[in-house]
């Protein structure tokens, strides 16, 4: 009780009073005089204690701020301090064709890397100079690669690939001369078929910041530094091909010694991707396209580029896809020079077109007369004409037919009057005036300027135009189906100043004007004409398979073979030892089937009439001269030439669409060559060359596939 009474504020009031009172007594006064100095000094203790309270307030508030308010932030810092994430990339899945031919594989390469964390800024120039001497690469080039912004600063940057053992031995033992420099064995892509299918296969590279942040595909499960498919099929099916890295979390102490490890994820190699492509057909296609363009250039045409798409009409599978000019994908895997870069990206100075664009799906041009079967389909679907009805084919037609001011004469490609022709015949002779009339009818039958329902355009979209086909390859173009909305959208840049005019429809009916299509759109639309009307979303991917786990000795065997197999950069792919895989041993993970896009509203008789016309084109029409000598009796082919006038230059783009064998089509081929004359001049001979190759593959007798593409004489539209 006594001790308690000593505590602050608990002292009884009475005692305090007593103290004040006691001051008055003489004895107390004496005592007080003795301790006067002490009492004064005691007051100073108060000042001191205020100071001390301040100190404690400061310490408590700082502690509260650090631990409670900023705790989470510092916990992350503490984690960063001790946890290192060690990832080992899994081998990426291979890419094979439908027959199990390996198109893309991996090969090990010795790579020189520099870890920017381990090298002092001021030492970099010296180290680079030494490296430059050993590797025979310019310092500037090394510096450029070292400063690659796409590699995270915590990861070693590869500055040189394909380093020889001898070069490595000049670097590796001398760590003090090469601080931060290391030699790693990396897996890089190799392409046993050289250039073949380059545009479809695409290439791989480190994920960019932009992709990481903005691409839906790479949002989940990807992190900076990951190697991803940058283009082509590598990009589309990246999720299957990349596999899963082995991830280990390593805990280190202050001296960077590892004190603990935890396996976060077991490595899982990427799955193999089988394509619907047939590398044999692809080779035929690429050779024919290159030959044809060369021949066109020899014939005085510019022919800067071209593209081919080959589809299987019953399934929507892409059998082949080619673009010219092309490139070696290994260049992108191994590193390329400045000259190569100009070749890849195009060079306006030399009129060199860029090689990276896949023109089979990214080139939008007017289709010319190859569009007539689509116009015919639209007219049939809208009951403008019956399948075997006819129309006159005069040298020109004037719209509006009653004439008057503002009327325009639309000419055929020949001034001769071809008389009354049926719908199949109109395709055979590619009669423009016939299709002008179909277009006019579709525009005006339901009102002076149509009824606003745009029946023609509606059909075109249904036939696969104006939207990407949805093929499983990145960067496909939409094409353009011009209509009233399009006019409105482009008003400000001077298009259709008077709104949509019937004349536009007339022009569009022969595939001219502002209509823009891609070769793959054309192929998909023609496939619908021969498969009963199904417009597919074409698919290049075919199956995803998990390769069988290789036995150890088997693995070593493949590795030795890879090492002894010299990587011949170019040359005839046929002469190279290529690997073929037994499909049955692997496990099917995913089957990829082309989805149905839409169905044409045409019956078998209507489709039959169009096909009859297309087969006549090849047998006796505008493509007959191109197919002279081709065994059409054993391998019938249907097709349509197209010559699209390029507005700006008056040059023509050359188109040829075909399918075969006509009785049971297994292939639809779209050939497009820019500024290469009429459809029958360049593209039809290219197609013929392809058909010869295919016929030979199919075992058709009497085909000579060894001939080169030669230009054919053709005056049609």
């Amino acid at each position: 009780v006594r001790r308690k009474s000593r505590k602050i504020g608990t002292r009884p009031i009475t005692r305090r009073k007593r103290r004040g009172h006691s001051n008055a007594t003489p004895s107390a006064a004496a005592a007080s005089a003795k301790t006067l100095g002490l009492d004064r000094l005691r007051l100073r203790l108060v000042v001191f204690s205020v100071l001390l309270v301040t100190i404690f307030v400061a310490l408590f508030s700082r502690l509260w701020f650090l631990q409670v308010l900023a705790g989470d932030e510092y916990q992350a810092l503490a984690r960063e301090n001790r946890v290192r994430r060690v990832e080992s990339e899994p081998p990426r899945g291979r890419i094979l064709d439908r027959n199990g031919n390996v198109l893309v594989d991996n090969r090990p390469t010795l790579s020189i890397t520099i870890d920017r964390q381990l090298i002092d800024e001021e030492k970099i120039p010296k180290v680079l100079k030494r490296l430059s001497k050993v590797l025979d690469v310019r310092v500037k080039e090394l510096r450029k690669r070292l400063n690659d912004g796409t590699v995270s600063p915590y990861k070693p940057v590869p500055v040189a690939n394909d380093v020889t053992e001898a070069q490595a031995n000049e670097i590796f033992p001398y760590q003090e001369r090469f601080p931060g420099v290391d030699i790693e064995e990396l897996q890089i892509r190799k392409y046993p078929y050289g250039r073949l299918l380059a545009h479809v296969l695409g290439y791989v590279g480190e994920i960019s910041e932009e992709e990481l942040e903005e691409s839906d595909q790479f949002r989940k499960g990807y992190r900076a530094g990951d190697i991803i498919g940058k283009a082509g099929i590598e990009r589309t099916y990246d999720a299957f091909l990349r596999g899963k890295p082995r991830i280990e979390q390593v805990v280190v102490n202050a001296d960077n010694q590892v004190v603990g490890k935890r396996l976060k994820q077991e490595q899982q190699p990427g799955n193999d991707l089988y394509l619907s492509a047939d590398i044999r057909v692809q080779e035929i296609v690429e050779r024919a396209l290159a030959d044809g363009i060369e021949a066109a250039r020899g014939g005085g045409y510019q022919a800067p580029d071209g593209g081919v798409a080959v589809l299987e009409p019953d399934t929507g599978d892409v059998i082949a896809m080619a673009s010219y000019p092309t490139y070696k994908p290994s260049m992108l895997a191994d590193g390329f020079s400045f000259k190569d870069q100009r070749m890849l990206a195009g060079d306006p100075k030399t009129n060199q077109d860029d090689a990276l664009t896949n023109r089979a799906m990214a080139s939008e041009q007017a289709p010319g007369s190859t569009f007539k079967p689509i116009t015919a389909g639209a007219a049939l679907a809208n009951d403008v004409i019956g399948p075997y009805d006819g129309l006159d084919c005069p040298g020109s037609r004037t719209y509006p037919p009653e004439g008057g001011p503002g009327s325009v004469a639309f000419p055929n490609w020949t001034s001769a009057d071809s008389g009354f022709v049926t719908l199949p015949k109109s395709l055979e002779i590619s009669c423009n005036t016939f299709y002008y009339e179909l277009g006019w009818q579709m525009e005006t039958r339901w009102g002076q300027r149509g009824d606003g329902t745009e029946r023609f355009q509606k059909y075109e979209r249904r036939a696969g135009f104006g939207n990407p086909t949805g093929v499983d390859l990145p960067y496909e173009q939409d094409g353009v189906v011009p209509d009233m909305q399009w006019c409105k959208d482009n008003e400000d840049i001077g298009y259709c100043p008077d709104g949509w005019l019937p004349g536009y429809t007339v022009n569009m009916s022969i595939g001219q004007g502002d209509l823009k299509v891609t070769p793959i759109q054309m192929a998909a639309s023609y496939a619908a004409l021969v498969n009963g009307g199904i417009v597919w979303e074409p698919r290049m991917g075919y199956e995803v398979r998990r390769p069988p786990v290789q036995e150890q000795d088997e693995l070593e065997e493949t590795q030795t073979r890879t090492e002894t197999d010299p990587q011949s950069e170019d040359g005839d792919p046929q002469s190279k030892v290529t690997e073929k895989v037994e499909v049955s041993k692997s496990k099917l993970i995913k089957e990829i089937k082309a989805p149905r896009g839409s169905v044409l509203p045409l019956d078998d008789i209507e489709l039959g009439a169009i096909r009859e016309g297309l087969e006549a084109v090849v047998a006796s029409g505008t493509a007959a001269s191109s197919f002279a000598g081709f065994p059409l009796d054993r391998f019938p082919v249907g097709g349509k030439t197209g010559t699209a006038q390029r507005g700006e230059t008056g040059e023509n783009d050359s188109w040829f669409l075909s399918y075969g064998p006509a009785n049971d089509p297994g292939y639809v081929i779209a050939v497009y060559v820019e500024q290469a004359g009429h459809g029958g001049t360049t593209s039809a001979p290219i197609a013929r060359q392809i058909w010869e190759g295919i016929a030979e593959l199919e075992g058709v007798q009497g085909v000579d596939a060894s001939t080169e593409v030669s230009l054919a004489s053709d005056g049609s539209g």
Binding site: L41, L66, N81
Partner: protein
């Protein structure tokens, strides 16, 4: 105002205190709270010393509890010293003040000769093989006693002469400690000087003069290159901490991470993969011991430790206020000031609000001399408290 610390009471129940107290033995007036705080802080420290050295000791294949065992031995020695110091009437100490001061000066001079042992670039220790003694720690207490003895003579009437004398007492002492070099120790000496002048009755003009003198001294020290570069770097690092390993800011950054990552509750004593366990904080069992507290026991543990100190210092002030004479009051205030300053600078530096100076946390940091001195200080406080009525 003095009621905060309790008042000096001269009569209880009408009976003069002296008469009453004459019947009572001093032991009856022990301050158990102060003693309890002392032991609690020491035990807390020993545990933290264990947790911050165990992983390194294990890695080296040494006795994991080596440092803790040593510290416990120091604590036992400290308790003995405490008992001895509290046993004699502190007023005898007053008489002994000049002797204590003289011995201290002698020891500080001797330690600078080859008799002294160099550790961490500082010649601050006498090495007796089994244990070492750091005279600068004891110098703090000797200074408190010496200044209290002189200022008590003045009874609050400090003149310029007294100020000069105090400066002389402190100047010789701090110069000897400064050249060891022990910057932290020097700072404590200066802090003690200021606290004791404040409580001992120095006037405002004295402090102004002192401030001017201090400025001149600091500028002079820099001009004459008496301060080493690393000392400047350490002091300024807290203004712009850099996590770079090569700079002084590294220690501070790691210390801050350790404390702050403890969060509210801490990661638990001895838990794995902490900053403490992985040895990211340098000198953790000595100057940076508070980081072990903060990380392992969180805000709860850190606040508890500060709370223990708060009670300890409050009890010291209370003893100062209740002291029977000026000498007792000044000694108690000096001790409170010494602890408060060391606490503030030490804990403050680990949290980045004070510059990094080599200062141990009283009772908690590993180290025998400091612990022994602090226990002796507690003994003095208890002595003053027990004999406040005699």
């Amino acid at each position: 105002m003095a009621t905060i610390f309790g008042e000096a009471v001269d009569r209880i129940g009408g009976e003069p205190i002296s008469a009453r107290m004459a019947r009572k033995a001093p032991i009856r007036h022990l301050d158990p709270t102060l003693l309890l705080m002392t032991l609690a802080l020491s035990a807390y420290g020993a545990l933290m010393i264990f947790s911050s050295t165990v992983s390194k000791q294990e890695a080296a294949g040494a006795d994991p509890a080596f440092f803790m065992k040593r510290q416990i031995a120091y604590i036992v020695a400290g308790v003995v010293a405490l008992l001895v110091v509290s046993f004699f009437d502190y007023r005898h100490v007053r008489a002994l003040a000049p002797v204590l001061y003289g011995v201290t000066i002698l020891a500080l001079i001797l330690v600078l000769t080859p008799l002294g042992d160099v550790q961490n670039n500082a010649r601050s220790w006498f090495n007796f093989g089994l244990f070492q003694i750091q005279p600068s720690e004891f110098a703090k207490l000797a200074l408190i006693v010496a200044m209290a003895a002189w200022l008590a003579e003045r009874k609050g009437d400090v003149r310029w002469l007294d100020l000069g004398l105090c400066l002389g007492i402190v100047g010789i002492l701090s110069a000897l400690i400064f050249v060891e070099p022990d910057l932290g120790g020097t700072m404590v000496i200066v802090a003690i000087l200021i606290v004791m002048l404040l409580v001992g009755g120095a006037k405002l003009r004295h402090f102004i003069a002192l401030g001017l003198l201090g400025t001149v001294a600091i500028v002079g020290a820099f001009q004459m290159d008496l301060v080493e570069d690393y000392q400047i770097e350490r002091i300024t690092a807290f203004l712009d901490p850099s996590p770079d390993v090569r700079t002084e800011g590294y220690n501070l950054t790691q210390a801050k991470i350790a404390i702050a990552s403890g969060g509210l509750r801490g990661k638990g004593v001895g838990s794995e993969n902490t900053q403490t366990d992985l040895d990211f904080v340098p000198e953790q069992h000595t100057d940076f011991i508070f980081t072990a507290v903060g990380e392992q026991l969180g805000f709860m543990g850190g606040a508890a430790l500060l709370g223990l100190f708060a009670i300890l210092i409050w009890r010291s002030l209370r003893i100062a206020a209740m002291a029977r004479d000026t000498f007792g009051m000044l000694v108690a205030a000096g001790i409170a000031g010494m602890w408060a300053f060391q606490l503030f600078v030490n804990v403050g530096m680990t949290m980045g609000i004070m510059p990094i100076t080599g200062l141990p946390l009283p009772f908690v940091s590993f180290g025998g001399s400091g612990l022994l001195m602090n226990f002796m200080a507690v003994g003095l406080l208890l002595n003053i408290h027990m004999r406040r009525f005699l």
